[in-house]
């Protein structure tokens, strides 16, 4: 318990994120659908997640390893923290901001003015990642 509290303290106080560490409120006001979220995570054209992250997706052969494995991510991070990192991870990593259209350079015409995922899709992904507790 004490260890958990220290961990929480480090996460909030010692945060290196340009943006806040956590974004507790749902982008849509409702909970996402974990099944949809999983489909988005493993979709290489939509979520793009497994290009960089590995995870508990035994059916997916070609996963990345330049970002942390998603196994157990729901135990390591709160839903608010997951949401913040997907929306805009700030300076903590090179991970693209999935819900931002400002401050980008030379975006290909087909993607100009568009976020990588919609608010609903991000909520679905958050709901799914939160289930990855082992």
């Amino acid at each position: 318990m004490q260890l958990l509290m220290v961990f929480a303290l480090v996460c909030t106080v010692g945060s290196a994120y340009g943006a806040g560490d956590t974004m507790p409120a749902s982008l849509t006001g409702t909970r996402g659908d974990p099944a949809h979220g999983r489909a988005i995570v493993v979709n290489r054209q939509l979520g793009l997640c497994i290009l960089c992250h590995g995870g508990p997706f035994p059916e997916e052969r070609f996963q990345g390893d330049l970002a942390p494995d998603l196994k157990g991510v729901g135990a390591r991070l709160s839903e608010g923290q997951l949401r913040q990192r997907i929306v805009d991870s700030g300076k903590i990593s090179i991970m693209p901001a999935y819900f931002r259209t400002e401050g980008l350079i030379r975006v290909a015409p087909a993607f100009q003015g568009k976020t990588i995922l919609s608010a609903q899709q991000i909520e679905d992904v958050v709901a799914y990642l939160a289930t990855l507790r082992d």
């Binding site: 901001a97 980008l104 350079i105 975006v107 290909a108």
Partner: protein, 242 residues
């Protein structure tokens, strides 16, 4: 000439070093290297008369095996009249329009790829040797800036993958150090030979960045920076890559 730090030099690895044994074997054996078909086509083009001048490359330059030896290790190279570096493909087209009085060959078309593969082949095994003088340096710096600039919807720079994360896997494939040691080269994914600029476009499309046009100054500057960064590494043209 600007020297690369020794530490970077020791760590440098060609894309070849990241390949499977089977793909390496394909490059190592000329009879198995599909890129050699383009080289053969290039040899025929080198010796064929073209344009209003009805002149072949060989009519001025003679036997490419002797006259083109080492040339590809120095491109992109500064051109005094263009007042900027030109790629090997652009040099071929300058020769075509000015000396042969022929129409320029299309970028990424079979003839320009064949000729550049044939010319590149004459430098196979030689160290890349971009000359960095005062004229060239501003273009090198422009290329370096592009290399380090986060771009596109995914907001990634070349350096974030190819310097900070080389050796790790992107979608199951190792990320290389982005040393252009073997262009033009045969890529299994393309089922054909392509230029360095085609490969750069692949990365730009992947990061959802608006690509530059073939031959655009930004592309040549980036090509110049990457080749200079690979100075001293062995040219493998025509290389094979997955």
């Amino acid at each position: 000439m600007l020297a690369l730090p020794a530490s970077a030099d020791e760590a440098r690895r060609s894309g070849y070093d990241f390949m499977s044994r089977a793909t390496r074997a394909m490059q190592d054996e000329d009879a198995a290297n599909t890129g050699m078909l383009w080289v053969k086509d290039g040899e025929a083009l080198w010796n064929g008369k073209a344009g209003g001048a009805n002149r072949a490359c060989a009519d001025c330059h003679g036997d490419a095996v002797a006259s083109m030896k080492g040339v590809a290790t120095r491109y992109p190279a500064f051109d005094a009249r263009m007042r900027r570096p030109v790629s090997l493909e652009q040099r071929i087209n300058l020769c075509r329009t000015e000396k042969q009085k022929a129409t320029p060959l299309a970028h990424e078309g079979p003839d320009l790829l064949a000729l550049s593969a044939y010319i590149g082949m004459q430098s196979r095994g030689m160290p890349i040797a971009i000359v960095m003088d005062e004229n060239t340096k501003p273009f090198l710096e422009a290329g370096r800036e592009t290399f380090n600039r986060r771009q596109g919807q995914l907001n990634l720079s070349c350096a974030q993958c190819h310097e900070d994360n080389w050796g790790r896997k992107l979608a199951g494939n190792p990320i290389t150090q982005a040393h252009p040691t073997g262009y033009p080269l045969y890529r299994l994914e393309w089922q054909g030979v392509g230029s360095l600029q085609r490969r750069l476009r692949n990365c730009l499309v992947g990061t959802r960045t608006q690509a530059y046009a073939y031959g655009a100054p930004e592309f040549v500057d980036l090509e110049l920076f990457l080749m200079w960064r690979a100075n001293g590494m062995t040219l493998e043209t025509p290389a094979v890559r997955p």
